[in-house]
Symmetry: C2
Subunit: 342 residues, 2 copies
């Protein structure tokens, strides 16, 4: 019999959502660290900052003034990576040099008028307003005929490239389906064709039976450190009911989704006693009018911190050239997070 | 006629080596930056540091003493992510929970006894010793029957997760072929089956005719900012002759390779007047004994700096959830680099 132990020995794990693998090196968390330390951001922000271009009533870089908004506020990104009016065209030389124009819309969503709050600090009722807005935006943007995919995401913390601490997220909506959701589309479709069931439904059933990687659940959602997690404290929020996108989420489900976002983000803040940086994003079906019976709504959280408030996991040389790699097991991360649910 | 312009309008570019796309937003470099600034490392290191575990004659964490080495020095990583003796085994529950043990060897390569030099500072003759060592290591590791892929790479600079400024690289050699080289294997094989020519050979011919993205070349190598570059100043070093791996590199080719590494890294240091951080890595055929006629030896450089010595490109929310995205065109990066070749 093999004495192979997931908690001890280097191994690879398969990510069925992307079809790719992650290298896990459980023993490696023991190595000493003499490298870069991140600045720890202490939360001493005012609730209103006259110099912040996202606070209510302040003026943005393009001269526009924000309204005196009282819950959420959404507007077109003044420096969007995508543009609605980009001319159509292509640039092609054989098979090896190929470019295509891409149209899209970039939106910024302020989660709250309060400069000093994050999703983790907000009341569930206020997070619910963000969820309502995500739903509305997904539907409205998705209805535009040149928008075939809508990416809702948040970069939290300066270590995640966030350039303004006022709590906000973004939406990039565009004509083509980007690389990551395209992988998930393929994998979920193949699984659905084979079993007539959603991949994440079956995965969630397994996890809810075993409970080892379940961080928290409520009637409509569960948060799990996926078996194939890449980032140290990565989680996935999966809807218990199988539907394709946020447009199909009912009233109670939206509240339950808000609740579990609060649970997970608040637990993150307790891991190292700091406002926990992360990038998060919602994955759901494209808005190209096709049917995607295999797509199952979910949200990813990718937080970079590994050892302490100031030491993150670097996804660099080996990871860029070869394969994602992690140093602690998903199971130990799940245990830590589970114990930090308020 | 379309007025679509690669230098002006958002577009996607195709990476034939991976089969994936990158989103390019040329207009976006104009946005203001209020986010995180990296610490700029000024080069005032001594040529020998008694506290450095990589300097000659010093003692490492595991109690071993480095020899008084005079050119390069290679040893097994004291905290390797892979282990030679990992027991074989698997952990499988249906299709959705799958892990497999992975065996491997992690090596550390000191480029020079001098604590204060980088590849950019070293003489071509001394870089040549590093290339010789890479060749020897690739051959020796590849010959081991449980090693089927050898990843040679370097993380340079603390922003790239490098935990010791003494110039060094790494080798992670393992039983399976990781995600990125697996993509390149597929793409290069498909192309070769179709045309009986190497993908990178044909690509290089195109670039050498156009010259727009060629940074520097010599008799045996060319350095190009690839049409599909993701990182701001990304380059690819391509051998002019089509061979699969470093084991097939001749004497003159090794010197030419050393020369172009010197050219490119020295140009990088001139971009913002600082020791330029990057992750680099060599991609070449697996060592599993199979024939890979389509594989074409090359080396990638992925440097993160974008606007200045202290502002890097963050690959975060949108990039992690959806698609890599860049803000300046590969053509403008190539022009800058070309003008900085010494
Ligand atoms: O091995 P090192 O230099 O200690 O570690 C560095 O390179 C490794 C390989 O890219 C990464 O996994 C680590 O996150 C990074 O800090
Ligand atoms: O749009 P922001 O917040 O200015 O920019 C941030 O998020 C973007 C989307 O993930 C990234 O492309 C940028 O590199 C990052 O700094």
């Amino acid at each position: 019999m093999s004495n192979f132990d997931l908690a001890e020995h280097p191994h690879r794990r398969y990510n069925p959502l992307t079809g790719e693998w992650v290298l896990v090196s459980p023993h490696r968390a023991k190595r000493p660290w003499q490298g870069q330390q991140e600045e720890v951001s202490r939360d001493n922000r005012p609730d209103y900052d006259p110099g912040c271009y996202l606070c209510p009533t302040n003026t943005r870089a393009n001269g526009e003034q924000n309204p005196a908004y009282e819950s959420t506020y959404v507007f077109d990104n003044d420096f969007g990576a995508l543009q609605e009016g980009a001319p159509e065209g292509a640039f092609v030389k054989g098979e090896l040099i190929r470019a295509e124009s891409e149209r899209g819309i970039c939106r910024v969503i302020c989660f709250s008028p309060r400069h000093d709050l994050t999703l983790a600090d907000m009341e569930v009722g206020d997070i619910r307003k963000v969820v309502d807005l995500w739903q509305r935006e997904y539907e409205e943007l998705g209805r535009r005929d040149f928008i075939n995919y809508v990416q809702i995401f948040e970069n939290k913390g300066s270590v995640m490239g966030c350039s303004n601490p006022h709590p906000h997220g973004q939406i990039w909506a565009q004509s083509t389906v980007p690389v990551e959701p395209a992988k998930e589309t393929t994998q979920q479709s193949l699984y659905f064709e084979k079993y007539q069931r959603s991949l994440l439904q079956d995965y969630l059933d397994l996890e809810l039976k075993e409970r080892e990687r379940v961080v928290v659940e409520n009637e409509h959602f569960a948060a799990v450190v996926p078996f194939w997690a890449v980032w140290p404290f990565e989680t996935i929020l999966i809807s218990k009911r199988h539907y394709q996108h946020i447009g199909q989420m009912g009233d109670e489900e939206k509240t339950a989704f808000s609740q579990i976002i609060k649970n997970v983000t608040a637990a993150y803040d307790r891991v190292f006693g700091v406002s926990f940086p992360y990038s998060s994003g919602i994955h759901q079906s494209p808005t190209d009018g096709q049917d995607y019976p295999g797509w199952h709504f979910h949200m990813h959280f990718y937080p970079p911190l590994l050892r302490s408030a100031s030491v993150k996991k670097f996804m660099v040389g080996y990871e860029m050239m070869a394969n994602p790699q992690r140093d602690i097991t998903p199971e130990s991360a799940a245990t830590m997070l589970k114990n930090l649910i308020g």
